[in-house]
């Protein structure tokens, strides 16, 4: 009796697991991020706005989003270009990009951006941001 049960158990577990068992979790960890491709001269209105809103303003937005870490600056809103009262807009980004914030932390100012667990920038997006910054980060 014991042998019969053992035999059935082994047959069942082996056949079910080996023949049919399927275990797969499609997390999004291995997938490339969305890329914002800009044709023509990059300006805030021509692509940079979409890029910054997509990759930066998920945290740097006023009011804070659910995803903004606790030490996110409270006077920076990268979802808009212009300053408003005491809130800085995305027009300040050009200075920081020219100072190298995409490659290293700016001492006393900010950590390297984007943060490690934020949506990464592609090489083409970095080139677009640098091109925009060196040309004076224009709106139009």
């Amino acid at each position: 009796m014991f042998m019969r049960v053992t035999y059935d158990l082994l047959l069942f577990l082996l056949s079910a697991s080996l023949l049919f068992g399927c275990s797969k979790a499609d997390t999004l960890g291995g997938k490339a991020p969305d890329e914002v491709v800009i044709s023509g001269t990059p300006t805030w209105e021509n692509g940079i706005g979409d890029l910054v809103r997509s990759k930066c303003a998920s945290c740097h937005v006023i009011p804070f989003s659910f995803y903004s870490p606790h030490n996110t600056p409270s006077t920076l809103n990268l979802s808009v270009y212009d300053n408003s009262s005491n809130i800085r807009g995305a027009n300040i980004l050009g200075i920081w990009i020219n100072s190298g914030i995409l490659e290293k932390a700016l001492t006393g100012v900010a950590r390297k951006m984007p943060l490690e667990y934020a949506t990464p920038l592609t090489s083409r997006e970095i080139e677009s941001l640098k091109s925009w910054s060196t040309s004076g980060s224009p709106k139009n």
Partner: protein, 259 residues
Amino acid sequence: MGREVVGELTGLRLVKSFLCFQIALFFILLWPFTSLAVTAIEQSRRLQLVYSHLLDFRSNAAPIYETSGTLEVSVDLQPMPDIDARIGAKTEPVETLPVSGRLRLRGFLFDGWMLGISSVPGLTIGKQKATALQTEMGLRKTWGSIQTGLRVSQSLWEILGQMTTTRYKDRLENRQQNIDFSLGLDWSFWQPYAGIGRGILNSDFWIEESQITLKIENHVYSYQFVGLGLRENTWSFNFEQHRTEDFLLHFQLSATRKF
């Protein structure tokens, strides 16, 4: 001669149930996975959903009608799928066990009504402490060899420990409710079955390092499953393959002793 006939019949049942099982599984697996372009928010949400679905209280049993007063004690085992836990450029140091398990108790009342419970009372495994209470209520009916089961379940989970970094303790709190229907056949000692289910998930994932809570509120999802049970007197063994939303496949095994 008699032994040969029994052998042929058993072999025929085996082939029939495996064919039925394979056809159902084929349709479930045929549904292709979707491919999305991603942001870090989408990645973290998907990861939270995957972990939450793996904590569901699924049936893991053929819907066999049991007489009043029957009590079942089960050990469920769930091999964990490989999980790519990268968010942005950061690989989250989440260490999951290769197999998770649970002890489960089921009691059968009158006319096919069933109650079940499973509890994890603050169990610490590795760097994480889990507390859970899972309950289920169901109704099973039989028409000849056809078996049906309707089941509702609820899961309350809290997992505390290192999940996104080794320096801080995060906390995952889940509240899940499920309803599922299964249809099966009772062929001698084999019971192939299949079913569909819906769930609603509320999940709070507190990340201590960032001091943010990633919330999933009233997320409604569907799942399908096929299973195969084997009964031998007071013992039964079960295999159940699940497909949850369009991104998670996992299976569970269980051994049950009936009293």
